[in-house]
């Protein structure tokens, strides 16, 4: 039964698993962006006149917080579409 699994199949299967596991990193940016948006909403509620500045700062901070998630996305894409492990077989 186990002998039917080829080396390529094994590498591909675990690469797909690894891509999925890598995307768990999406949790962090989600929480961070949510905190930033919540604080932004609170700031606008306290001082509605500064809505433009608050929105700009919030979007900038969120974009920086998103970076770690995008690193994991890059790793997931590499594992799925440009797999470096297949060349090692």
């Amino acid at each position: 039964m186990m002998s039917q699994i080829t080396n390529e199949g094994l590498v591909l299967a675990f690469s797909a698993l690894g891509a999925g596991i890598a995307m768990i990193a999406g949790l962090g940016p989600g929480i961070g962006q949510g905190i930033a948006a919540g604080q932004g909403a609170a700031a606008v509620g306290r001082n509605p006149g500064a809505k433009g500045d608050v929105t700009t700062t919030m979007l900038l901070g969120q974009a920086v917080a998103e970076t770690t998630g995008l690193y994991s996305l890059a790793i997931a894409f590499i594992l799925l579409f440009a797999n470096p492990l297949l060349g090692r077989l």
Binding site: L59, L60, E66, T67
Partner: protein
């Protein structure tokens, strides 16, 4: 009903190749879409310049749009850079318009050139060179001694922090645009035909218009913020 995934296509394809100094060089779809966007921007700039040469006191529709774009970019730069905004108007304006056009180009069916890491890494390196140029110009020798602060032991970490700037700038842009491109390709490839007509418009608004505008804005803002940090008086 749903297709088997053969129609999913978001990769970069080679159009033709030639050899230069023994090196095989491929002209890809990224080059083609870059060329389209650059031609579009050049034609727009040429027409706008022709038009602004004989600007009227009461602006027409086109003149209004051009003035609005210039004022918007000026406001964006003045908000961060303050008194030295003239040095950044050319670069930031050009990069912002280029990024905006190329991120929005996914709407018109061509593959956005910013979904190619080569393009965004190039832009990130240009921004890095700009940041370091203003760092050295403003701080002179302190630009190098700052790497050894607060402790000389921290030099490797400071160096990595400097080198990570173009990487994070370019990866952020690349990842956002590529994820939008992949998502749209999946939606178009996997949906039954009758759903393809109206529903993807909602996703286009988010992935292309919203995300594209935000990322173009963020790239320019971060370039200016990093430069501003280097030029800060201590």
């Amino acid at each position: 009903m749903a297709s088997d995934g053969k129609q999913i296509d978001f990769m970069i394809h080679g159009l033709f190749s030639f050899s230069l100094f023994g090196q095989e060089i491929w002209i890809t779809t990224s080059h083609a879409s870059l060329l389209i966007i650059i031609l579009l921007l050049i034609v727009f700039a040429w027409v706008a310049r022709r038009r602004m040469m004989r600007a009227e006191p009461v602006p027409g529709a086109f003149q209004n749009v051009v003035e609005w774009i210039v004022e918007m970019i000026d406001r964006m730069i003045a908000g961060i850079m303050g008194d030295c905004s003239e040095w950044f108007r050319n670069y930031i304006g050009a990069v912002f318009l280029f990024l905006l056009t190329s991120n929005l180009s996914g709407l018109f069916g061509i593959r956005p050139p910013t979904a190619d890491f080569g393009v965004t890494l190039g832009l990130g390196l240009i921004s890095f060179a700009l940041i370091q140029y203003f760092n050295i110009r403003h701080n002179r020798g302190r630009a190098f001694t700052d790497l050894f602060r607060p402790l000389p032991v921290l030099f490797p970490i400071n160096l990595i922090g400097e080198v990570a700037t173009p990487l994070s700038l370019s990866l952020r842009l690349f990842g956002n645009v590529l994820s939008g491109t992949v998502m749209m390709a999946l939606v178009y490839g996997l949906m039954p035909i009758f759903l393809k007509l109206g529903f993807p418009a909602v996703l286009h608004v988010y992935f292309d218009v919203f995300s594209g505008c935000i990322q173009a804005y963020v790239f320019c803002m971060l370039t200016m913020v990093f430069t501003r940090q280097k030029m800060k008086e201590e």
